[in-house]
Each structure stands twice: as C-alpha cells, then as structure tokens.
C-alpha cells in the first residue's frame, strides 16, 4: 500500500512538473501592477485581444518597477524571457538588442505603418531596425493652479520667463510658495532642471549630450544650473520639498499649497478628475531665445513592449504585440494616462480637457528630448542623478555640476 501511494505521489509530481512546461499560449511581463495608473488600459486591451483571438491565451504578470528591472535582466541572462515584455526605450532596450535577445519588428511593422508614425519608433530603433512597440508617451508640463495665480493678479500662466519670475516674486511676497519639488525622488528634480537647461541651451544641444555623446563640459549648462539654484535661493521652492516624496508634493499642489508643479503629463487624468481644481498645463517658457524656442519639450515615447527572440512563433507574436500595444495606447489615452504614440482613429471625445491641451502642445512641438535618466545607460544615469540631487541640495553649483559629469561620464 505504501509503495502504491509513493508511486501515485511520484506520478502526480511528474505530471505537475510536465504541466509547468506545457505550451499554453503567450506569456507577457509588464509593470502595470494593480496600483499603477496604466493597469486599466492593460486590462481593457487584453480583454479586447482575448475576444478577438479566443485561441490565443495571454498569461500576463505585472511586477513592481524596481523588481522588474532585476527580473527581466535575470531572464535575459538565463535565456528564460517571456514572449512579450515591457521595457523602457533607448539604453534599457538597447542593451538587450545588443545581446541579440530581441526580435526585430521590421516585417510586422509594415502592416501597422499607417497607424504608428515612424518618428514614434525613433527611441526603439537600433541600427535602422525597429525593436519596440511604443505605448503612450508623456512630456514634462508646467501645471499651474489658476486660483492661486489669480490671487496675485494673473489670469493665465505667465508666457515668458521674465513674467514667470515676476509672478514668482509676487507669490513669495504674498506668502505663497511658487513651486513644489520632491527632493527625495531625484527624477522629480530632473523635471525642473532638464526643462530649464533645454530652454537655455536648446533642445538639440541637450539631446546631443543625452544621446549623442556630446560633452557635459558646456558653460551654458552651468549657467542654466545656476539659474535653477538662484530660483531655489530666492525662495521659489518649498523648503520642505527636500525631504518629501513625489506623492506628498503632488498632494500639496492639489491641496493648493503651491502655484506651480512641473511633472509628467501622466498626472493629467488625476488633476482633471479632482472637482473644483482649476488647473492648466503649459510649456516652460524660453530662457535664452537665441538658443531655445517654444515647441522644444522634454519627454517622448519611452514605455514600450518588445518581443523576445525566443518567443513562440515570433513573427505572429510580433503582430499580436503591435496590435496589443495599439490598444493599450488607446485605453491609456482615454484614461488620461498619457498621449497616444499611435494615430487616433477612434472617438476620443471623452479625453479630459487637460490631456487634450497637452496634445495641442505636442502637436505644435518640433523637438522632444527624452528624459535624461531614460536616455542614458543605467550607469551613466546613476551618476547624472547623483549630481542632480547635489544641485538641488546646494552641494554643487553649475560649474561643479558640469565638471563632475565631465569627469564621471565622458
């Protein structure tokens, strides 16, 4: 009897193990966890795909951002990648492409070329070949609380840099805090600093530094950093910001503590959804008009889906991924989580007014520089963020910033 039971257990165990390896549809990893603002767009898109392709089951798993970075790298290392995976554009995906782990989408793209503009694939094109399916895209916006601005005599967001400074002075004099910035999360500081640098030295010059190997040893960058620090010294920033996270700062802005908040346009849905919140989004004004102009933005498509080279029936999986990406983009746009990287061929009347105004800003733009920490390889981004944190903390000035980055990066 004991032998029989042992045999039975062994058979069950073996069957269980074999079931693990059973070919059961496609697998996908992403970062749209239940608390992620993009969760709904993934769920809705996957539901649509399952309805359209009932024979193709998509087993998807959402993993928290930082854990995901380790998990996907371990999977690449162990040749154990899911068929479809979420990735960030530029250097992050580029590393996997270099290792020949990602399936080229050139053939599959041909069937979607009329819906996905070529320029949206720029950040996931390596050696002229496309490897990524862009989802929604975002830019950095200058969000303004119009009710607070009204208190100091402004009906609209100041259009020029001089007007913005004048407005900030009036706010400080009235005991208001112009800006909130989360010092505990350095990427929030980059939202300000990169916009100020871009509007001082021009988009092309900043893009060359981030993406094309131009030197950090640029006196105009140093001057822009000094402008940022001058704003901090003049009391334009909440002094408590240095020890706050982004959630706190955003909550403060929504509670009317700050007049302005520079952050990603993924916040549009949340801001627009708050009743009685009189908010407007604008572009950061030009600081040096001889080098920069309006229409030069920080941002662009970064959230991406890619197909593993090891994927089952890779060509069909590539087509499936493109279709899925298009749907995630659609639902993300309708939810106000970002702007569409894909052409809008559906009714988008329900999109909130704030997101629509961002779409107008993007439509008028002619240059987008991707967020520095996404554009640069991880090790360089780490050194860059380290120096940005020092700038906000007042540990280095403009000259120190460029000298440190020149030495550390190039």
């Amino acid at each position: 009897m004991k032998k029989f039971l042992a045999m039975l257990l062994a058979i069950v165990a073996v069957l269980g193990l074999s079931a693990c390896g059973k070919d059961d549809g496609l697998t996908m990893w992403c970062i749209a966890t239940k608390s992620d603002s993009n969760r709904h767009s993934y769920e809705a898109a996957i539901a649509d795909m399952e309805k359209k392709y009932p024979d193709t089951k998509l087993n998807w798993e959402a993993i928290e951002n930082e854990t995901y970075k380790q998990k996907i790298k371990a999977a690449v290392s162990g040749n154990n990648m899911p068929d479809i995976f979420f990735t960030w554009s530029c250097a992050f995906l580029g590393d996997f492409v270099k290792e020949d782990k990602v399936y080229c989408l050139d053939e599959a793209y041909k069937g979607f070329a009329d819906k996905l503009p070529e320029k949206m694939c720029k950040n996931t094109t390596y050696n002229g070949k496309k490897y990524g399916v862009p989802l929604t895209m975002n830019i950095v916006g200058l969000f303004a609380n119009l009710d607070i601005l009204k208190e100091v005599g402004y009906d609209d967001v100041p259009a020029t840099y001089e007007e913005l400074i004048e407005c900030c002075n009036k706010l400080v004099a009235a005991g208001k805090i112009p800006f909130g910035c989360a010092g505990k999360e350095t990427w929030c500081v980059t939202e300000y600093l990169e916009s100020i640098i871009e509007k001082s030295i021009g988009a092309k010059a900043l893009d060359d530094i981030f993406m094309n190997g131009a030197t950090w040893d640029n006196q105009d960058v140093a001057k822009a950093v000094d402008i940022f620090q001058e704003m901090i010294k003049n009391g334009y920033f909440d002094p408590d910001g240095i020890s706050l996270g982004n959630d706190d700062v955003k909550a403060n802005f929504m509670a009317g503590k700050y007049a302005f908040y520079m952050n990603g346009t993924w916040n549009c849905g949340e801001f627009a959804g708050k009743e009685g919140f009189n908010v407007k989004v604008a572009e950061f004004p030009v600081i040096d008009s001889s080098k920069a102009k309006l229409g030069q933005l920080i941002g662009g498509p970064s959230d991406t889906l890619a197909v593993a080279k090891s994927a089952k029936d890779a060509e069909n999986t590539a087509k499936y991924t493109l279709e899925l990406g298009q749907l995630i983009c659609k639902y993300g746009y309708l939810d106000g989580c970002g702007l569409p990287a894909w052409t809008v061929d559906y009714n988008a009347d329900s999109v909130n007014a704030l997101t629509k105004s961002v779409a107008e800003i993007v439509a008028k733009s002619d240059y987008m520089v991707l967020f520095g920490d996404t554009a640069m390889p991880a090790d360089e981004a780490g050194k860059y963020l380290e120096q940005v944190a020092k700038v906000y903390g007042g540990e280095v000035d403009g000259a120190g910033f460029i000298a440190a980055l020149k030495a550390a990066i190039r």
Binding site: A74, D95, F96, E99, K184, P377
Partner: protein, 308 residues
C-alpha cells in the same frame, strides 16, 4: 590457513559495512549538502567571481581584476566607506544603547513583576509589526510638518516664521538619525525576548540561595543572572552587530537607494545592482559585507571566550 581466510573475510565484511555506512551517511547528508551548495556556497562563489568583472547582469563579462574593489576604496567614486562608518555607528548604538536597554527590561520582567506578560507583549509588539508599516509610521513622525517639528513648536524651540527642521534630508546627517532611531526602537523587544528567556532559565534555587545570603535584587542580577546568560548575550551582540552591518529595509523605506546621508553597505549594493546595472560593483560590496560580518562574528565569539 583457515584462520587467515576467516580474518580476511571478517576484514572484508568490516570494510564493506564501513563503505555502506559511508554511503548511508552521505545519502543522509545529501539533501542538506545540496541546499548548502545551492543556496549558500554557489551564490557566494558566483558573487566572488562577478566582483572581478564588469557585468550588467546579463550578456558578456569583462575582466577588471581588482578595479571594482579599488572603486569601493576610492571615496570620490563610491561612498562605500561612509556607508560602512554609518553601519558601525548603528552597531555601536545597538551594542551600547539597545542591548543594555533590552537587558534592563529582561531583568526587570524576569523578577516576576506585576503585569509581566502584558509588558513582555507590549515590548515585543514592534518586532511583529511589518517594517514597511513602521517605516511609514516614523516617516509621519519625522515629516516636516510631523510630530517632532510640531512638538518643537509647542515647546517653543521652533518659533513662528522659523523653517521646519528637515529630519528626512537636509544633507547634514539628520536623516541618518531619523533612520536609526526606529531601527533601535524596533529591535529592543527582539533582544529583550532573547534575554528574557535567558533570565528565566536561571534555576530559582540559585536566586533563592543568593537572597538567603543577603543579596539585593540588583546583586542577584549582577552576580548570578547575568553571568549565567553569557551565551545569550553573545548571540545578542552578534545579531546586533551583524544586523547593523546588513541593515537595509527601514532605510530603504525612509530614505532612497541613492541616499548618501543614511547610506549603509546594502543600499550601495542595491543602488549599483538595480539602478545602475553594475553587478560587478554590487558583488564586490556583497563580498566585503560577508567578510565584515564573519570577521565581527568571530571577533565577538573570541571576546566572549576570553572572558569565559
């Protein structure tokens, strides 16, 4: 001849039995050996190997020799030694503040005071609460508009118009203390429970004999109880020191991975592994961390042996 043959057969049988015993011992040890190699030895060896390479966590590796270690020793490149100093400060406070406090509580409760069980549970409660919850709780305490600054305003230390004190990041080291205070507070109960078990294991006859000889409560604790629980004290000191060197979770919640003010070796390790993708540097930190933990565990054991 018969005798020699018999002897030879007997020897063969002993040899065979010894061989069988050896196989049996090996088979019994095998699961533990597999677990030891798979979970401890292999990752350790892999970390040592990776620490000599430039490695992104996947793809090819580039041999660097001692470069990753040299970078750790170069303060201008990686603030590793600052993080070790921070860990030592925490270890110092653990040993000289947290453990005496835990010992005091354990001795007090061990005397069988009224409400012993209740006080034991109350002091042990922070250990049972998730570190994430504790981190969030103390974040509220040290928030610029949180409990500490509010109290300072009530007592008049901060006057109207004064800026809030930035406990969670002013670049002057306050964040380090804001992280250490909850860490020390959380584990007092843990050490107290260990020591309480030690106090309770002292035979009551010894206490009674000392009392009959006229010893006070303090003298009983000093000359009878504490010497009897030397092994537990040793374990507590080892846990406190190695735990300080390995500290991570609360700092991760209250600060960021890239914090310099409150960096400890584990935050440097995770920063270089997850954010910067430099697995070689992260492995070098891991190797040094393991060596430091071993060194201090041996040192503390030797110190207690000496006293024995």
């Amino acid at each position: 001849m018969f005798g020699r043959g018999h002897f030879s057969l007997g020897r063969q049988s002993i040899m065979k039995r010894k061989k069988l015993d050896g196989i049996t011992i090996f088979l019994f040890l095998l699961p533990a050996l597999v677990l030891f190699i798979g979970i401890l030895a292999a990752p350790l060896i892999s970390s040592v190997v990776n620490s000599f390479y430039q490695y992104k966590g996947f793809g090819s590796k580039t041999w660097l020799g001692w470069d990753n270690y040299k970078r750790l020793f170069d303060k201008n490149q990686i603030p590793f030694w600052d993080s070790v100093v921070h860990a030592f400060i925490l270890a110092g406070f653990s040993v000289f503040l947290q453990l005496p406090l835990a010992l005091g509580l354990a001795l007090l409760l061990g005397r069988g005071i009224k409400g012993e069980r209740f006080l034991l549970s109350v002091n042990f409660l922070p250990v049972l609460i998730s570190t994430v919850v504790i981190g969030q709780l103390w974040l509220k305490v040290f928030h610029p508009e949180g409990l500490v600054n509010s109290l300072l305003r009530v007592v008049g230390y901060l006057k109207e118009g004064d800026k809030n004190i930035q406990w969670l990041g002013d670049g002057q080291g306050k964040l380090l203390w804001a992280c250490f205070i909850p860490m020390l507070w959380q584990y007092v109960g843990y050490h107290m429970l260990l020591m309480y078990a030690g106090v309770k294991s002292v035979p009551p006859e010894l206490r009674e004999a000392a009392k009959i000889d006229g010893a006070t409560d303090w003298q009983v604790d000093r000359f009878v109880v504490i010497p009897s629980m030397k092994q537990i004290l040793k374990v507590s000191v080892i846990f406190a020191v190695t735990g300080s060197l390995k500290s991570y979770d609360l700092i991760r919640i209250m600060a960021t991975l890239q914090t310099k003010e409150a960096s400890v070796p584990s935050t440097i390790l995770m920063d270089y592994m997850t954010l910067r993708g430099e697995y070689g540097v992260a492995s070098a930190v891991a190797v040094l961390l393991i060596l430091l933990c071993f060194f201090f565990a041996i040192l503390i054991s030797a110190a207690f042996k000496e006293r024995d």
